[in-house]
């Protein structure tokens, strides 16, 4: 899985940075989608397309008279869904990497008589190795931890994360077994983490001198650019179709059976009634919707604060075990959410800290899960702020609190916003850890939707997902307006590529 997304991600990064392709901006915009899409939504859309009563399946069977099959449910479906869902993440990582390869390296290789293809193979590609490894690791971990898509599409094809889920919530209710499976999952991801380190070895991949790189990236060799462009186009088209399906699916009566357009699902989920007491939230989804918003809104600023404080500690202070500490903060990103979910249940189900089933556990898990992004963004911008800035402010008569508030904080604004947006969005779309931690009182949107899907209530699930996507799109856009022209996507690239 990691391999597929990495290759596809690389293809996209190449198209955007190394070709005369005209719709680069559109392609970049596609990368924001999966960040704001709950992971299993892709799975849902695939069912609408290729499922038993899916559009393509029906059309195909009418055309050729073939009996519709359930081929989608199982490995192929999960694979396709994950490819669609995680390729943009690899793309985000790799676009920074591809752009980061110093142009003069490639020019040097050209003047040394290497053909374009040879340059790509012997210089560009090896220099992208750390990025490729990161993208691979990310794809691998996301795929291992992915919970929604296997649940929706898996059929009899069980993956570790769903096994863990059923061990906890299923009839067996065996926390021990869940913990063992979580250990196995953890072992695999840490193994991948270790393998990545090994593969990179101790070779150096950074440009030796940063100065005077004024060259331009050469375009891809033609032999490479044609297939690359073709694949990218097909993928982009497919993604667009999938998202159209999601929207379309939310406004039809009953998919494949009754294709009349209706807003019924939105009605069920989000109906309002006005009476003398004011607005009555009568829709079925409001509860989880508000809970999600509330918890995301609480978790996001806390995540940002914890992340930035950690970043401050890591950049401005020295203390024993600093490296181990930094590694530890990154690790919580590498651990699959499923494992975190299980461990939180086990840890906080018993005194002294008994918070399972409360909103607190959700907030806490979000903070620790999403903190690394805040840390990375914080470190990136804080290491750019020279210490002399603090010092000059201090010598000008400000005390350290004033210095922090008037000098450091404004300069950190982009980092703060990145951390805020990211943790907010992740809190709204997270499923893998959340599903273990929700309770009747504190139900999250994503686990509510999964519940609908399990009851085959696709219309409602999709309508709800569409609403979530829309809400988050608004949030991201609003944040982007506040930050101004700095791109959130770019910063995420930086923060994620350092996993």
């Amino acid at each position: 899985m990691g391999l597929i997304t990495t290759v596809l991600g690389l293809i996209f990064a190449l198209v955007v940075t190394r070709s005369g392709f005209r719709f680069k901006r559109g392609l970049r915009a596609l990368t924001v989608l999966p960040i704001i899409t709950p992971p299993f939504v892709i799975g849902l859309a695939l069912i609408l397309l290729f499922g038993l009563s899916g559009t393509v399946t029906v059309w195909f069977s009418e055309l050729f008279g073939v009996q519709p099959t359930r081929w989608l449910y199982g490995l192929p479906g999960v694979l396709i869904a994950q490819t669609l869902a995680f390729t943009p993440i690899a793309f985000l990582v790799l676009i920074g990497v591809v752009e980061g390869v110093s142009p003069s390296m490639e020019e040097a290789a050209q003047t040394l008589r290497a053909s374009k293809w040879q340059v790509f193979r012997t210089v560009s590609l090896p220099l992208m190795r750390p990025g490729l490894a990161n993208a691979f690791l990310l794809g691998f971990i996301e795929s291992m931890a992915d919970f929604g898509n296997p649940l929706v599409l898996g059929g009899n094809f069980d993956v570790l994360s769903t096994e863990i889920f059923f061990a906890i919530v299923g009839a067996q209710y065996d926390q021990g077994q869940a913990a063992v499976l979580a250990m196995v999952l953890l072992f695999f991801t840490l193994g991948a983490f270790y393998a990545q380190r090994r593969w990179l070895g101790k070779k150096s991949y950074t440009t030796v001198s940063g100065k005077g790189d004024s060259g331009v990236h050469p375009h891809m060799p033609t032999a490479l650019s044609i297939p690359v462009l073709a694949i990218a186009m097909i993928w982009a088209a497919f993604t667009i179709v999938v998202y159209l399906m999601i929207f379309y699916g939310s406004v039809v009566e009953l998919w494949g059976v009754n294709n009349t357009l209706t807003f019924k699902h939105y009605g069920t989920a989000f109906s309002l009634r006005f009476d003398e007491e004011g607005i009555r939230w009568t829709g079925a989804a409001w509860d989880s919707f508000w809970t999600t918003l509330k918890i995301a809104a609480i978790a996001a600023p806390l995540t940002a604060i914890v992340g930035l404080v950690t970043a401050y500690l890591l950049t401005r202070q020295t203390f024993a075990g600093k490296n181990a500490f930094e590694f530890g903060t990154m690790l919580s990103f590498a651990i699959p959410g499923t494992v975190i979910g299980v461990s939180y249940i086990l840890a906080f189900n018993v005194p002294p800290i008994e918070i399972t089933g409360t909103g607190i556990i959700l907030v806490v898990s979000f903070i620790f899960r999403n903190m690394p992004v805040g840390v990375r963004a914080g470190i990136a911008s804080m290491s750019q702020l020279d210490k002399s800035l603090d010092e000059s402010s201090l010598t000008l008569g400000a005390n350290s609190w004033q210095t922090f508030r008037k000098v450091i904080l404004p300069l950190l604004r982009p980092a703060i916003l990145a951390a805020l947006v990211y943790s907010f969005v992740r809190a709204m779309t997270a499923i893998s850890a959340v599903i273990f931690l929700v309770s009747a009182e504190y139900n999250m949107a994503t686990s509510y939707i999964i519940g609908r899907v399990e009851n085959n209530d696709y219309g409602l699930a999709i309508a709800y997902s569409t609403t979530l996507i829309f809400v988050m799109l608004c949030v991201v856009l609003a944040m982007q307006l506040i930050v101004g022209r700095t791109k959130i996507g770019r910063r995420m690239t930086e923060s994620r590529s350092n996993v």
Binding site: S102, Q110, Y205
Partner: protein, 354 residues
């Protein structure tokens, strides 16, 4: 030494380079670079010197005009197919390859077999004094050593033309002098054609057979270092190569190729350079003034700075400020005093008007 030169001349005929729609980086230049010579492209940033170099390398393709290397028209030939190699400002050593692999890189694409590649790369490293460093990674070398690896990597291909893009700008001041001498030695010993880009006029004067001064996408003057320094074609060149005081004067009389000029009370004789009677300007180097003479221009010392080996003065004259350097550090002039200033008999030069 098994590395030989296949030095070839380079010639630009009416070459223009336009970026995008209307950014003219190089505007209709003609340039002849002779085989076996070191020619410097000198100019302020944005003057088109690097673009010119990159057009020789094949990293930029000329918009108009033709470029020859030797007898071959290379105008449309990409970098890969040109017999040219380049030392980059950032050195552009491949960080994932050892020094040996870096130096062998180009040889592998040039049809040499394995043993020959290794021998040649070894010779290249010997030549730049890095014997025994082959197994290191570039990141384990100092800046000066990295620079030499970059030179070796370009040299071993025995290119018709070797290009240097500001090769010294990432080195510290002390190392610069030595490295530029090393580059000049290698160039002369092997008889290479070298095109060298720099914005440092002292560097250009020190290493070049010929200097091409560029300004605003075109060539301001071409000449030997001495020629540029002593007979600048215009105000820009005079000021860019070494410092110059540009002073207005009056040509009172021209006899043959000698002009008599007057600046206030000061009379002087110097080469006429084809100018005739009337108002003109002269360029005077800071070292070409005589201080405290009996007859000359009266000026007031507004600043006096002791810099160890010499005194630097800023003098206030009726036509503006003059910057003067004096070797006499034992009897400095104090700020505020009046002084009578004359000109050296050799050195001051009339600037042709445009």
């Amino acid at each position: 030494m098994s590395i030989n030169a296949k030095a070839a001349p380079v010639s630009f005929r009416n070459v223009t380079k336009v970026y995008g729609k209307d950014v003219v980086a190089v505007d209709d230049i003609n340039l002849e670079i002779k085989a076996g010579k070191l020619v410097t492209l000198l100019g302020p940033s944005g003057c088109g010197k690097t673009t010119t170099l990159r057009m020789i390398a094949g990293l930029e393709i000329a918009t108009k005009g033709t470029i020859f290397i030797g007898d071959q028209d290379v105008t449309l030939l990409p970098a890969t197919d040109r017999d040219v190699s380049m030392v980059f400002q950032s050195y552009a050593l491949f960080p994932h390859m050892s020094v040996m692999e870096n130096v062998s890189y180009g040889l592998g694409f040039s049809g040499f077999d394995k043993t020959e590649t290794r021998d040649r790369a070894q010779d290249g490293l010997d030549l730049v004094g890095l014997k025994g460093f082959g197994d290191r990674l570039p990141s384990e070398l100092s800046g000066g050593q990295q620079q030499r690896v970059a030179v070796a990597r370009a040299l071993v291909l025995e290119p018709q033309v070797l290009l240097f893009d500001e090769p010294l700008s990432n080195l510290d001041a002390k190392l610069r002098r030595q490295v530029r001498e090393d580059i000049r030695d290698i160039q002369q010993n092997l008889g290479l054609t070298v095109v060298y880009v720099t914005h440092d006029q002292e560097e250009a004067l020190a290493v070049s057979d010929e200097i091409v001064v560029m300004r605003n996408a075109s060539i301001a003057q071409v000449g030997h270092p001495r020629e540029l320094y002593d007979a600048p074609a215009d105000r820009f060149v005079a000021d860019f190569i070494g410092e110059a005081n540009i002073i207005p004067c009056e040509i009172t009389d021209v006899q043959g190729d000698v002009a008599h000029i007057r600046m206030g009370d000061l009379l002087h004789r110097l080469p006429a350079r084809g100018l005739s009677q009337g108002p003109a300007t002269i360029a005077v180097r800071p070292t070409r003034f005589k201080l405290d003479v009996s007859e000359g221009l009266s000026m007031n010392v507004s600043k006096a700075t002791y810099v160890g080996s010499r005194m630097e003065y800023t003098l206030e004259a009726s036509f503006g400020q003059v910057f003067v350097v004096s070797e006499d550090v034992d009897n400095p002039l104090a700020a505020g005093t009046d002084v009578t200033v004359g000109l050296d008999s050799v050195g001051p030069v009339l600037l042709p008007e445009h």
